[in-house]
Symmetry: C2
Subunit: 530 residues, 2 copies
């Protein structure tokens, strides 16, 4: 392993040893005692002891980010320990010991998304307060559809939504409707669904076949969930117009205007603009004031997909990136991304109170009885789900734990880490070449092996250039060694480039960035020697 | 409190006291030690200690099922302890102590869905092995869209789906496609979506406005999520036909046939039959072989909503209720209902491999790179979500922990408890009157105060009869006293009646049923004295 593996934890294990041993002894004693009196208790204690150690910040940094294993190797590993992954016909109950062993193996072979070496996706390194909030909501086995079964969660949802609405701006702060939804993609579904209902309310009753074709517009860098949503809602992918973006990946308002005019000329009815605040790959922010002006003039619904970049709202230093978002009709944000909430924790907000109920309510008699206590507080009829996990607890605990200044500091640290990595790349003498100017905390770049330097300008690059093979080779080597995980992709006709994003900075230091850059260069050169 | 409150725990607290104290002392010591070396660790230890006590089976039975509080009372309770529910502008970080206090209040004021007195919904009393599985997946912060970030969860999903598919029958067992989805309602969305794609594949591209109206058919007792789905998909509620049911609430095949013929005559295109295995209120099972025959003849997609009754598949004694489900095209089941998995844990299965990808895949370049390791195992492109919580761990742990015989025993015990309660009602001399013959584990009944006995036959009852007020009054009294929670509703033109369902039997004994019946009669009579 180059560089001797991941760096030691900030508090070396030796320093903590007496404490760790004392704790371990206590926990072990507790487990033994409880095992004797009741079934299940030992499992709970045992698993909690494992989890306590697993989420210890030092433990995450010290362990490999992944112990790469093929499906066959995983099946064998579980089977060898007496807790095979397959669920065979006629299976007998596993012992408590076997279940504990299974948990150990899950923890061992799952990717450590909380490691300071995990940057593969737009999530990672959740805040501990948010994680324990998730554990609490699971222990309660709480379902959030009626106040009577979820009194605390119902109020927490109200307050957490209000907090995000205030961050969006005064208009959302003053009046809004909203929900926690299972993921940012569903947030976009709600946005387009409410827009469709405003534009063509007859669809609820008569369906879309009675209506002229509706047209939704998003940028050509927008998330693929807009495409899935257009299909789901019966709008059709041909009626999802990809609007041209500038070199940085932000939607061009004049191109939007043009696309709207074209659609109207073709006898279609534009109804929805899906803007993006922080695109998935480039981290671009669409120019919301200009888009809002177009939407206002044309009577279109403006939804802002802030799944990724929405976190910037919580820092005075960076919230200008989302200027104009308070002009939108609806907004979605994944708090499990830049805010560091535990997965899954996504918010959908709409500026128009009552809009969710108007589009979705069915007033099911068995659930939303008007004659039960506090029936007016039932939120379940706003959703396309019925039962719903109490995701709001994760964000409520996070807000409580960090306070406003703490949230801001976390966001600013993400940007600072990204700046640091970018400056290292810029001063690398052509070893690391930025494919795009950084935006949000996204760095898109190539590692250029010495034999390929200098890299031609990107206008002359395509997938036939040998640089296309480098990022996959480096990534695979880092995965095999458990060093780090960082995603790559080939978009805009370019050869594969890395996308290094900084979602949640918890436990990430500059030294981790240095190490990752070093590994990339080592593995990049090794690739060329083959 | 009548009867002196909930019964004592099976292992009286006194018996366990030395062990509890030893454990508490160890945990407290561990917390103190760890607090000194790192922030966050104390919170984790502290919360885990609270959770360990909270989920102890005896603790659930001994505590009130709910400490009823209005929103104002809850706000005050949290504020008084220094951890107000509101998230004020400029909030400072809460201390570890305040966060722990907040967790204590969440646990105190949330409804105890794991109590043997909670029968308000179709979930409750989850298996501890499933709960710890949920905790583990949260600790991992795992996201299930690509194999590379979720190797273990991807394989667990495959095996858990295969286990449910085998339970459905040999056809599903031999070949299937599937996903864990956030709730049974979404399972119905997937069913109707795949059916729409088979019937009118052009909608993906061109949208529904280019197609003749599609018609979906479900029984008049089907879940309201079918209605939400018909709206969501742009089919329209007018094109969701409610097919007549028999007295027990099961769809009449001849009525289905009639409705299909009518729709075709009206120039519409029937494409989907949404059957129900265990209706929400009455627990009725639609006659699947007859419905499958109609669907086969007419070329319609048959989806079975087994969200509630699907659990019966896991018992040889009761699986006949779902005879014919292997003939369906798709099937959904909420394992957090009768199987006792922790919330949320819902399965969608389709008999046609590749169907999910055909309807949903977009091959997003940034996520589903074909040139990364094990890319062929990525499941994320099947979904309408992008990121997805690892719900499969909860079912995998449950299956492992119980084994096949254990699963069957749990299901059979749910039915036995329901039978016991029904027999108590039948021999109550008119105090409890069944509104319907029991089906699944659903008991629909009235408590009839002495002054209203004998209750007229239900054909002569409506919402003007004073019995309409009795269930809400009893329920409110039981909530105020924290005795029990059982739902009521007014459907089929009848006055409010209780629906007592038995989802997951963990920790429920006949004595709990006796107590609840006694409380109902006490509060029912009190209502009449007012």
């Amino acid at each position: 392993m180059p560089g001797g593996g991941p760096p030691a934890a900030r508090h070396p294990v030796a320093e903590q040893l007496p404490l760790v041993l004392a704790t371990a002894a206590c926990t072990a004693l507790a487990i033994r005692l409880l095992d004797r009196v009741r079934q299940g208790g030992g499992l709970v204690r045992g698993v909690l002891a494992l989890l306590c150690e697993h989420v210890r910040p030092g433990a995450q940094a010290a362990a490999p980010v992944v112990e790469l294993a093929s499906p066959g190797e995983l099946e064998a590993a579980f089977a060898q320990r007496g807790c095979g992954l397959a669920l065979a016909e006629g299976a007998t109950p596993a012992s408590e010991g076997q279940l504990l062993e299974a948990v150990r193996l899950i923890l061992r072979y799952s990717v450590r998304a909380n490691s300071p070496y995990f940057f593969n996706q737009l999530y990672g390194r959740c805040e501990l307060a948010s994680l324990v909030g998730d554990w609490v909501s699971s222990a309660v086995n709480g379902n959030v559809h009626t106040y009577e079964v979820a009194p605390v969660f119902t109020l927490m949802e109200k307050h957490a939504l209000a907090r995000v609405a205030r961050a969006i701006g005064p208009a959302f702060g003053a009046s809004h409707d909203g929900l926690f939804v299972p993921g940012g993609s569903l947030g976009n579904v709600y946005g387009m669904l409410l827009a469709r209902h405003r534009a063509a309310p007859g669809i609820l009753l008569e369906g879309a076949s009675s209506e002229p074709p509706l047209v939704a517009l998003v940028s050509d860098e927008a998330h693929y969930s807009y495409l899935k949503t257009a299909r789901l809602l019966g709008i059709g992918s041909a009626h999802l117009v990809s609007v041209e973006t500038d070199a940085a990946g932000a939607m061009l308002p004049e191109a939007l205007e043009r696309s709207i005019v074209e659609a109207v000329r073709a006898g279609k009815k534009p109804f929805f603009v899906g803007a993006t605040a922080g695109t998935t790959v480039l981290g671009a922010f669409d120019p919301l004031p200009a888009l809002a002006a177009v939407c206002a003039e044309r009577g279109l619904w403006l939804h802002v997909d802030g799944a990724w970049g929405g976190g910037a709202l919580f820092s005075q230093a960076h919230r200008h990136l989302l200027d104009g978002c308070d002009l939108a009709d609806s907004f979605s944000m994944s708090a499990h991304k830049m805010l560091g909430a535990a997965l899954q924790c996504a918010v959908f907000l709409c500026r128009h109170p009552g809009a969710l109920r108007a589009a979705n309510a069915t007033s099911a008699a068995y659930l939303f009885q008007p004659d039960k206590l506090h029936a007016d507080l039932d939120v379940g009829d706003k959703t396309i789900q019925c039962g719903r996990k109490a995701d709001m607890v994760k964000l409520w605990m996070l807000f409580k734990s960090l306070g406003d200044a703490g949230c801001a500091a976390r966001i600013e640290r993400c940007f600072a880490l990204s700046d640091y990595a970018a400056s290292r790349m810029r001063s690398s003498g052509g070893a690391f070449v930025l494919a795009f100017e950084p935006s949000c905390t996204n760095l898109c770049f190539w590692y250029v092996p010495e034999a390929m330097r200098p890299l031609p300008p990107k206008e002359r690059l395509d997938k036939d250039h040998p640089i296309h093979q480098v990022a996959p080779a480096i990534k695979a080597a880092m995965q095999r060694g458990g060093h780090a995980m960082i995603g790559f992709q080939a978009v805009r006709g370019l050869p594969n480039f890395f996308r290094w994003v900084f979602p949640s900075c918890v436990g990430v230091e500059e030294c981790h960035i240095d190490e990752i850059l070093r590994w990339m260069s080592v593995f990049g050169e090794q690739h060329c020697l083959r």
